[in-house]
Symmetry: C2
Amino acid sequence: MTSDIILLGHGSGGTLSHQLLDELIIPLLSGVPSRDQNDAAVLAPVAGRLAFTTDSYVVDPLFFPGGCIGDLAVYGTVNDLAMAGATPLALSVGLILEEGLPVAVLQRVLEAMRDAATAAGVGIVTGDTKVVPRGKADKLFINTAGIGVLEHDLSFSGSGALPGDRVLINGSIGDHGMAVLACREGLELTGDLRSDCAPLHRLVAAMRSAGGAALHVLRDPTRGGVATTLKEICLQSQVDLLLEENALPVRPATAGACALLGLDPLFVANEGKLLACVAPDAVDAVLAAMRSLPEGAESCCIGEVTATGSGRLRLRTAIGGVRAIEMLAGEQLPRIC
Amino acid sequence: MTSDIILLGHGSGGTLSHQLLDELIIPLLSGVPSRDQNDAAVLAPVAGRLAFTTDSYVVDPLFFPGGCIGDLAVYGTVNDLAMAGATPLALSVGLILEEGLPVAVLQRVLEAMRDAATAAGVGIVTGDTKVVPRGKADKLFINTAGIGVLEHDLSFSGSGALPGDRVLINGSIGDHGMAVLACREGLELTGDLRSDCAPLHRLVAAMRSAGGAALHVLRDPTRGGVATTLKEICLQSQVDLLLEENALPVRPATAGACALLGLDPLFVANEGKLLACVAPDAVDAVLAAMRSLPEGAESCCIGEVTATGSGRLRLRTAIGGVRAIEMLAGEQLPRIC
């Protein structure tokens, strides 16, 4: 690269654009040489239904304990595919760069994307790069879209919860949001906080093998946290759900940071967690399958679908009371993903 | 909507996010009711190879003569699929909104996306919305990704040009870029300038029926314009190509605006044009097929692949001289798409 910062010309389509692609983006993200790049990637035929999803990532700061915007952009979209029960096939990446962004920062992010894609076993097959003038974006935004294939006839939609279902989670809640927030605010407590961002499609495959059609709902509790995602499931399925506060896994560092800042970990984003509603007969088998994988080692049951109903989400508190949980109106933690 | 501007809370995942989705985005863009929305869309199995592409759109201003960022975001991605010879199946949409954006502006853009998707016959099946604080983005950025299906075994890659191929285009050049630029700068000459943005997949289908394997290369000359795209084809195919200046279709309004501003229409972006390299035997049939459709009515031949070579692009000028054309180093027109 002849410049160590991103220039407007890197988004022009001209020689600077080609240099950025040929020297940085394509070598890091693509196995296909520049000479064979076209505007669309062509993929081999696929047997099965397709899953298709997209997310944009605007996290601030770009780097935080446990990951960076690049990991998020790969794992977040892989996980949205996984929640449909799909095996991820291919990702696209759309970069919006602010003029003046250090090339070294872009390189670190792209390296993280490459490593995350390798870890998830998914290819980044097509992309696009735009540059906007200084002050018209904040450093770097990433969009990823993903295609997956469903090798089964099951559905894990948010509308599938049934009374009696147990609610499972694969580990501690609120770690991602608090790691990002503490890092952004420069809090001293960052030492013990670490984002949980991780790919979940292998965990889902294991759960599906163990639970089959008894696996009713799969959702990843990202923005809005566990509470918002469960409330969505309650409304989509028209059921009532009771959470057990004593059963909610919260790491001490995350609990401490939440207490300090007046935040409820139930509403804090996760990037390596899933929630599942599972028929009671299959719970033991599904939990055992989850615990057999590192990303599910701390899996547990945190609640139960109690009845058909109007979509009430309630929490049995540590001292035995029951309180209703509603979605937050607005923004607890902006730019967390 | 309880607010007439976008708030940070509209990106939070909470009730404001749900209100934005339920009252504006989902009714305008999706046929699927909120209750059945999940993080990934599930599509029926597809017979054939898949095409997959993405583009982000950061055009400034959002609205310009002949279209807006919403049309661009749909047609641009449809056209990238079309250039692979694919029939567009489904689009994703990722919105990045700046806090304070008027909801009415978002609504106009979403209505344009809906109308463009209807015109192109493609569904918008999955999406994501993020909000960043004031000053951290410029009003509204859109990413679209698209899936298409290839119902044939042909390839129209930029590496497929052969000596003797004629270079065809479906009409006048430089209209999109000059319409956006004139509108942005408030030039009085906007009256006659109009973006050419339009979907091209039906034109490609007609060309494929007429030309079959004689259709060697398809590319849409967007950023960097006709010159940059042809130079890319020359380099990818390792051929030399000669353009005829007298044959280049340029509207008087576009030519006038280019002359006034010192810009070369060969380097100005198009959003409803394609370039094709076609074996000479098939040129008449392909041109006739192109001219049978409104988007190809002004199709013509603008040059010829002269020889295998190192990738030289040359222009025979109106007065009979020949000059070499290289890519621009940097940015002629930022934020044109």
